[in-house]
């Protein structure tokens, strides 16, 4: 692997909230088609890393580059439009919209008609709307969610909502997809389905770089190619899953020190 094909990388990323070092000197290199896992106990700063990547927070120090560009001064919207997509730990679907409309929202910024054409209901609007609907429906079909297309998004079972959220994040063909605890709140059976679902996504989108934050070791070991282990904001270990599983530092962070 050469340094050239990395899509997203960060160097010595720090995010402090007052005296709290939520992320401390975090470095990462993301290449296309590879699945990364960020694991660690609660409060290890995993979600903060995502929030800095997606520019919800501006980092205290360090640099991030995405698609060969430095994104330190870019905002959330710009980075999203460059092809960084994410899901949230607590599902954040848009409650007033149907499943299909939720997915459409992710395409809407690129819609090819102006607000005047929208108000006057001109033909170009119809054509563009058809395209958007078609793309959204294709993604739902690909992910076998089309049967729910016209349901109200927030009335679906939790496991399905998770998938809709992932579909919404995937529809704009992002380069990087950040999944924030996709298995949170799911029962064991749903977790197994989710692993299959994510594996399917990996085969459907071979170029997509996938980042997963997770607590559950089984899910991470099954899915990820490379792992970063965080504790109190610091990276305590990184490597392929087999290495991490036997790493004494990781075991002590997860299970406590042996007396």
């Amino acid at each position: 692997m050469s340094a050239n094909d990395s899509i997203l990388s960060c160097n010595n990323l720090c995010m402090y909230f007052g005296g709290v070092k939520a992320v401390d000197a975090f470095s990462m290199d993301v290449k296309e088609g590879v699945t990364y896992g960020i694991i660690g106990p609660n409060g290890a700063g995993k979600t903060t890393i995502y929030n800095v990547f997606t520019r919800i927070y501006a980092q205290t120090s360090g640099t991030i580059s995405f698609c060969g560009q430095c994104i330190d001064s870019k905002d959330q919207v710009a980075v999203a439009r460059m092809g960084m997509s994410r899901t949230f730990q607590n599902i954040r679907l848009f409650s007033g919209l149907s499943v299909l409309d939720n997915v459409k929202v992710a395409l809407d910024y690129s819609g090819k008609y102006t607000i005047a054409e929208a108000i006057l209901h001109l033909p170009r609007r119809q054509k563009a709307e058809k395209e958007i609907a078609q793309k959204a429906m294709d993604t739902l079909k690909l992910l076998k969610l089309d049967q729910y297309a016209y349901h109200s998004a927030t009335s679906l079972p939790y496991g399905i909502q998770r998938r809709v959220e992932i579909a919404r994040a995937l529809v704009s063909q992002p380069k990087v997809l950040l999944l924030d605890e996709p298995a949170a709140g799911l029962n064991p059976e749903e977790v197994l389905q989710l692993v299959d679902f994510l594996k399917e996504i990996k085969s459907l989108y071979p170029k997509l770089a996938l980042l997963v934050i997770e607590h559950r070791m089984d899910l991470v070991m099954n899915l990820c190619d490379y792992l970063y282990v965080q504790n109190f904001g610091r990276t305590i270990a990184q490597g392929v899953p087999a290495e991490i599983q036997t790493n004494p530092v990781v075991l002590s962070a997860y299970l406590g020190e042996e007396e």
């Binding site: 997606t54 919800i56 959330q76 919207v77 999203a80 439009r81 997509s85 994410r86 949230f88 954040r92 848009f94 409650s95 007033g96 919209l97 409309d101 939720n102 459409k104 929202v105 992710a106 395409l107 809407d108 910024y109 690129s110 819609g111 008609y113 607000i115 929208a118 108000i119 006057l120 209901h121 609007r125 563009a128 709307e129 958007i132 919404r168 994040a169 704009s172």
Partner: protein, 299 residues
């Protein structure tokens, strides 16, 4: 129909236009504006005062009035929409009050609190009002069903999530606020055309609040619901003017009954009568079918 009845319908239509403007701002984009009457005042005063001063045709000054409304909305929105939602409500309310005072202050041109009454008579006002109401409702409907409508609803529910899907929430909100304010401005001009007198009191904060009440009564996210409620809630108090209880006209109880209504709606249907549903003939037929099906089942 006699002139009085036509006047009532015009009043209701103007109320529908105003509420549609508020609908776009509050229901679509989730901005709680308490000063929309100010834009009605700006448009109305500019249209009629400038037309009188320079002898320009009303149609041109109306366009000017709407443009100034839009401009004011833009100037208000750019700094305010960076703040939290509650500050936005406060500032719009303050802006509404400010506008009313400015009109009184400029009494040389506006005739102050006595009201500006040199408004020319226009033919076919009724059809102008009804026609524009239909147009405005169509515009709002088209807007709601477009990508902009979807993005608005998305940013209303969850701004952070909307941003992370590339929705430029700040610009979107400014655009929507300007459009909604221009529509309110149109309502103001029509109000002037119909009544042929405009006073600062007519565009006070009562009117802004009234429009919000109509909107919430009809349904927090239902265009048809809020339009219907704007039409009928405006009409009903007028028709009850002659009904008297204990020698007091029922119209005197208008404000009290608005309060009561809001209490009842918030308690029993927190999303308004129609909630997020739109009123359609298909839906109505389905509703009655279900109703009859239930009755049949009971038998």
């Amino acid at each position: 129909m006699n002139n009085y009845q036509l006047g009532l319908i015009m009043n209701s239509c103007i109320s529908v236009i105003g509420v549609t403007g508020v609908f776009i701002i509050t229901s679509l984009a989730g901005m709680f504006s308490l000063g929309q009457a100010a834009y009605m005042a700006i448009s109305a005063y500019i249209t009629f005062v400038v037309a009188k001063m320079f002898g320009i045709p009303l149609i041109l000054t109306a366009i000017l009035g709407l443009a100034v409304s839009g401009l004011c909305a833009y100037i208000i929105a750019v700094p305010t929409l960076k703040l939290r939602k509650d500050y936005f409500a406060l500032i719009t309310m303050g802006f509404g009050e400010m506008m009313a005072s400015i009109i009184v202050m400029l009494d040389k041109y506006t005739n102050g609190s006595i009201g500006f009454s040199r408004i020319p008579k226009v033919k076919n006002v009724f059809w102008i009002v009804v026609g524009l109401t239909v147009f405005v409702l169509f515009f709002a409907w088209a807007l709601k069903r477009s990508r902009f409508g979807r993005m608005c609803i998305a940013l209303k529910t969850d701004e952070t999530a909307a941003k992370s899907f590339g929705v430029d929430t700040y610009r979107m909100k400014i655009t929507v606020y300007v459009i909604g304010s221009v529509i309110c401005g149109l309502a103001g001009i029509l109000y002037g055309l119909k009544n042929r007198v405009i006073t600062p009191d007519g565009f006070s904060w009562n009117l802004s609040a009234e429009m919000q009440i109509f909107l919430f009564f009809g349904g927090t996210n239902s265009l048809t619901g809020s339009a219907l409620s704007a039409f009928f809630l405006k009409l009903i108090p007028e028709t009850l003017r002659t009904v008297r209880i204990f020698g007091i006209s029922l119209q005197e109880f208008r404000t009290v009954s608005y309060g009561l209504m809001i209490l009842l709606v918030i308690n029993f249907r927190p999303n308004g009568i129609l909630g997020t549903k739109e009123f359609t003939w298909k839906g109505l037929v389905a509703f009655f079918r279900r109703l009859f099906a239930k009755k049949e089942a009971k038998k």
